[in-house]
């Protein structure tokens, strides 16, 4: 008698079909890389800068413009600056003028103060319609101190009160520029 044993087996897949040959890993790592470069930004905090004169003896007009600035210069060899330029002279005519004042001694000048990184301009600086003039300078590896609020700067203006100005309202445009390398 010949015994025949028949085994009945059922093949089962022990894992999900398509993942059978790819189990993956329980962890994965990735390297996050970032490269900050020299950058600069500024905001003018005044909506406008009125110049006013107090008293009656042709005292100079004065006013101030506030800035908030952010800067990062290159670690080695970097630099930066804040400058300003009168990009539109006073108008209408017959009032003050930066480019062609009624008298040679008339001028729109400013002094600078900084609260933060950088070196402020020295003394009184006469503004110009033809060239940018200095407000602040930054050396290598300069970084804004206050963040996110930003560092602050102020330009305090003085405009000669020349009696030759006809009465009325006159406006000029000053453009501030910040740079960093």
């Amino acid at each position: 008698m010949k015994k025949i044993l028949t085994l009945v087996g059922v093949a089962l897949l022990l894992t999900a079909p398509l993942a059978h040959a790819q189990l993956g890993t329980s962890t994965g790592t990735t390297t996050v890389t970032v490269a900050p470069v020299a950058e600069a930004a500024l905001n003018i905090t005044n909506g406008s800068t009125p110049l006013t004169s107090t008293g009656t003896n042709f005292t100079n007009y004065t006013g101030s413009t506030g800035l908030t600035y952010y800067v990062r210069t290159t670690q080695s060899g970097g630099s930066g600056s804040i400058t300003l330029k009168v990009t539109t002279d006073f108008s209408p005519a017959n009032g003050p003028s930066v480019a062609t004042p009624p008298n040679a001694g008339d001028k729109l000048a400013y002094t600078c103060t900084l609260s933060g990184v950088g070196t402020a301009c020295t003394g009184s600086v006469t503004s110009s319609t033809t060239a940018a003039t200095n407000v602040a300078t930054f050396g290598a590896d300069a970084h804004t101190v206050t963040f996110p609020g930003g560092d602050t700067a102020t330009t305090a203006w003085t405009l000669t009160n020349d009696p030759k100005y006809k009465t009325g309202s006159y406006s000029a445009t000053v453009t501030f520029t910040i740079s960093a390398s």
Partner: protein, 185 residues
């Protein structure tokens, strides 16, 4: 004559056709497979670069897509994909997850488009001290095949990173390591 009878009988018996009967014995063996919950990360990107465009000092951003497969226990299972900064940014003097130059600086992320599970909404802040959520799986979730499982195989989720651009970071290149972990129960 009588002596021949037994011989005849024996001969008849010997000559009679012998019917062969094979005995068949059947037995069964039970095979049991225990299908366990399982999760795996596949084709994992080994780097992501954070970059920026436009306005000075706006945030650095970058994204990476993760592929995964998951199977959770029916009725009671669950699982997660989490992320942790296992190495902070180096070298020093740049961004830092654990000790940023200013309190508001952070490496944050949002998650989107998970094809299995529920992705985080965010923004969440990456930490060196603890893992934070990317995807959450519930019971009876599975990859591939459609029906009660996902159609997509493998599954994917996108992680979108944002890093504060603090002016205090010195110029240069900085790198951190993030470790993603998948689990299933």
């Amino acid at each position: 004559m009588i002596r021949l009878a037994p011989l005849v009988v024996w001969g008849a018996l010997l000559l009679a056709p012998i019917r062969l009967e094979a005995a068949t014995l059947t037995t069964t063996q039970t095979l049991q497979a225990v299908i366990s919950p399982l999760g795996g990360l596949f084709s994992f990107p080994n780097s992501v670069t954070l970059a920026k465009t436009g306005t000075a000092f706006n945030n650095f951003t970058g994204s990476l897509s993760i592929q995964y497969r998951e199977r959770t226990t029916q009725s009671t299972g669950g699982g997660t994909i989490t992320v942790k900064a296992t190495a902070d940014f180096t070298p020093a003097n740049g961004p830092s997850i654990a000790s940023p130059p200013h309190a508001g600086d952070a490496l944050t992320y949002t998650c989107s488009a998970a094809t299995l599970g529920t992705n985080c909404s965010g923004p969440l802040t990456v930490s060196t001290a603890a893992s934070t959520n990317v995807v959450t799986f519930s019971a009876t979730e599975c990859t591939g095949g459609g029906g009660s499982c996902s159609t997509a195989n493998p599954n994917t989720v996108t992680v979108n990173f944002t890093l504060t651009d603090d002016p205090k970071y010195k110029t240069g290149s900085y790198s951190a390591t993030l470790t993603f972990t998948i689990s299933a129960s």
